[in-house]
């Protein structure tokens, strides 16, 4: 065997700036493996100090242009937990519809535009459009559906503006929601086609059993609220997160790496969600999963694409349910500033997202602590990569590069988020 140096200086088709460095010695042993995140830090946890509680949602939204809604909701819930506020059901429903719409948009982007070109042999969806215009059109239509719902409730799709502490600045129009409901019903077919597409497309046969983590609720498919659970028995309240999960700095990465105490690496994202919360999926989503022929729980990270597609079916079903039960009444938004600590965990499209804040009596931030999904996943991605390379001893450097990139894209990392 010969020595191999794998180097990808700027990984394509992911959000943000990351690289891969791997050295394999002549005995085939991996000597150095880095998922090197070189995204410049923005120091949110520093400049949030001194800002007011009602700006936190707006500021942390800017951590990410793909999942601003997840940051907004997590920040709002953490602030509400400081102040002991429990918003009304209507606010919770509208927030869930917002979160789901953001999942639709982000998961469609990940499946069709970031990863599908790999699986179909194209360099991009732009190149893919020449031969498969129908697929690209379907993707654009599904993505638009998610974005339009975010815009109807939030005012715009990137950095929406209406969600506030304990309520909304303005409620969406009933007519617009009814119109979008028709589109949800019609596009259900496209969601099923998405499941079929990803169920039948070839993916690497690679399984690595690792701890899968997601928030979970006995009644609903958990997105905005739930206890943090894992496939290995973790079961904690969001307020106690820091007793169980900590971060380490790697010299080559501007994103910190997360560890479960006494356990090590873990995975968050659509696959852990489907694995842990399969029972709470809508019946159509469960049927779609069964039709795919893939068994869950599943520990092949490349099955994440299919998990996103199954979630898409569920997301459409749950959106319709929420729209049907929304009465849309004007509600009073009472707020009394309180000092103290509050934390929240939600499921961003890419997995569990943690925010916590300490506020003083005037509602000024004294301390902020934010851990995005890609920080949770970074160490696990490296461990997957390590094992994946072990399964391909005879591969060329180009083949290893491509497989490692594919693996990283299956996690759909949001690198700006992870560094923040």
């Amino acid at each position: 065997m010969t020595e191999k140096t794998i180097h990808v200086d700027y990984i394509a088709r992911v959000e943000g700036q990351g690289a891969i460095n791997i050295n394999i010695n002549k005995d085939g042993k991996i000597e150095n493996l880095q998922f090197k995140i070189f995204e410049p830090p923005r120091f949110f946890e520093s400049f949030l100090i001194g800002r007011k509680y009602d700006e936190v949602m707006e500021l942390t939204s800017r951590i990410c242009g793909i999942c601003p809604v997840a940051h907004q909701i997590t920040a709002l819930r953490a602030i509400e937990n400081v102040m002991g506020i429990d918003p009304c059901d209507q606010t919770k429903d509208l927030r869930k519809l917002m979160a789901i719409s953001a999942h639709i948009q982000s998961n469609v982007l990940s499946m069709y535009f970031l990863s599908l070109p790999d699986l179909m042999g194209y360099e991009s969806a732009i190149a893919m459009a020449k031969d498969h215009m129908d697929i690209v059109k379907r993707a654009l239509e599904l993505k638009k559906l998610g974005n339009d719902i975010t815009q109807i409730i939030g005012g715009r799709s990137v950095h929406p503006v209406t969600m506030l502490v304990n309520g909304f600045s303005s409620l969406p129009s009933k007519n617009k929601l009814q119109a979008v409901k028709k589109r949800l019903v019609n596009l259900k077919k496209e969601a099923h086609e998405t499941v079929d597409l990803f169920a039948n497309i070839g993916i690497p046969d690679f399984v690595r059993k690792c701890e899968h983590v997601a928030i979970s609720d006995s009644k609903y498919y958990a997105i905005n609220e739930g206890r943090l659970k894992s496939s290995e028995g973790l079961d904690i309240d969001e307020m106690n997160y820091r007793e169980h999960i900590y971060e380490k700095q790697k010299p080559y990465s501007t994103a910190l790496h997360s560890y479960l105490k006494d356990q090590g690496s873990f995975m968050v994202g659509p696959l852990p969600r489907v694995n842990l919360n399969f029972d709470q999926l809508s019946s159509d989503a469960k049927n779609a999963a069964k039709r795919s022929g893939v068994k869950f729980p599943n520990y092949n990270p490349f099955v994440s694409h299919l998990a996103r597609a199954i979630e898409l079916v569920h997301d459409i079903d749950e959106s319709i349910e929420i729209i049907d039960r929304l009465a849309l009444k004007e509600e009073q938004r009472g707020i009394t500033c309180k000092s103290g600590f509050g934390a929240a965990i939600t499921e961003a499209p890419r997995g569990s997202l943690y925010h916590s804040y300490t506020l003083d009596n005037n509602g000024i931030v004294k301390k902020a602590d934010i851990v995005p999904p890609t920080s949770h996943n970074a160490y696990n991605i490296e461990k997957d990569m390590h094992e994946l390379i072990g399964t391909m001893p005879d591969a060329t450097i180009e083949e290893i590069k491509f497989k490692c990139e594919m693996l990283i894209r299956a996690y759909d990392p949001c690198i700006s988020c992870s560094v923040h």
Partner: protein, 253 residues
């Protein structure tokens, strides 16, 4: 047929939201592909070519020595370079940290700051010549379309310079400052969002940055008259465009 103009999309210190706003043109995206050759866009393409670009859309501010070199390099290869969004114009909300000693920020976030090499965050115009600025966090997609159309026609894009107040009047919104004493940034902020926030029941926070020649000092006085503290006023101006010459004084320079 003439050759399609070559476009590159680049990301620096930012959130990718501006890129997402290009991609939000779901209705126009396929037309865009007919008219332009998208030759560099890391978030969307694996084969990228950044040589001889007609247009570069640059998202994000500059906050590392490496980024200074990189933006100069892109400038050399590009005919028409656009500062695409508030981060590229003046660092946007990330620039709030420019008032904090850099070492303090690094120690707040990293156990070992010696591995971090960040500087204060600046707009790209601090280092290179910029041909057009698209304001907004994120810019509105109508403005993006206006810019791309103008590029095709080789005319100057018509980008708005008047305040949000004008759009508020079009929407027949009552003024939040005069009618409810709510501290709205609208009078000094560039239009282009369609007065989004005041129309949806809340004050403008300023995410489109300063309008042309705003009277920031007068608005700061009005804010103090409606009982904002000096710290509150500073927070208002030290948010999306604290580094801009228009807001620097009120942001606390």
């Amino acid at each position: 047929m003439t050759k399609k103009p070559k476009i590159g999309v680049f990301k620096f210190t930012g959130c990718a939201g501006c890129q997402m706003e290009i991609f939000r043109m779901e209705n126009e995206f396929l037309d865009l592909l007919k008219l332009f050759d998208i030759s560099y866009w890391k978030m969307i393409k694996r084969d990228n070519d950044d040589e001889g670009l007609d247009i570069a859309l640059v998202e994000g501010g500059i906050s590392t020595p490496w980024e200074i070199e990189e933006i100069k390099c892109i400038r050399k290869k590009t005919k028409f370079l656009v500062a695409f969004g508030d981060c590229a114009i003046s660092g946007c909300i990330t620039s709030i940290r420019n008032w904090i000693p850099q070492m303090e920020s690094e120690e707040t976030v990293y156990p070992d700051p010696s591995k971090i090499c960040s500087t204060k965050v600046m707009g790209i115009g601090e280092y290179i010549k910029v041909d057009a600025e698209l304001k907004g966090c994120p810019p509105h997609r109508d403005t993006i379309i206006e810019l791309l159309k103008s590029a095709l026609l080789k005319i100057k894009p018509r980008l708005r310079q008047h305040p949000v107040c004008v759009e508020c009047k079009f929407n027949e919104n009552p003024c939040l400052i005069t009618s409810k004493k709510i501290p709205c940034m609208g009078p000094v902020i560039s239009a282009g969002c369609g007065a989004l926030c005041p129309t949806l029941g809340r004050e403008c926070e300023g995410c489109f940055g300063p309008m042309s020649n705003p009277n920031a000092a007068a608005l700061a006085d009005i804010f103090r008259d409606i009982n904002l503290t000096d710290e509150d006023v500073k927070r208002k101006f030290r948010k999306y465009a604290g580094m801009s010459p228009e807001f620097r004084l009120e942001a606390g320079h």
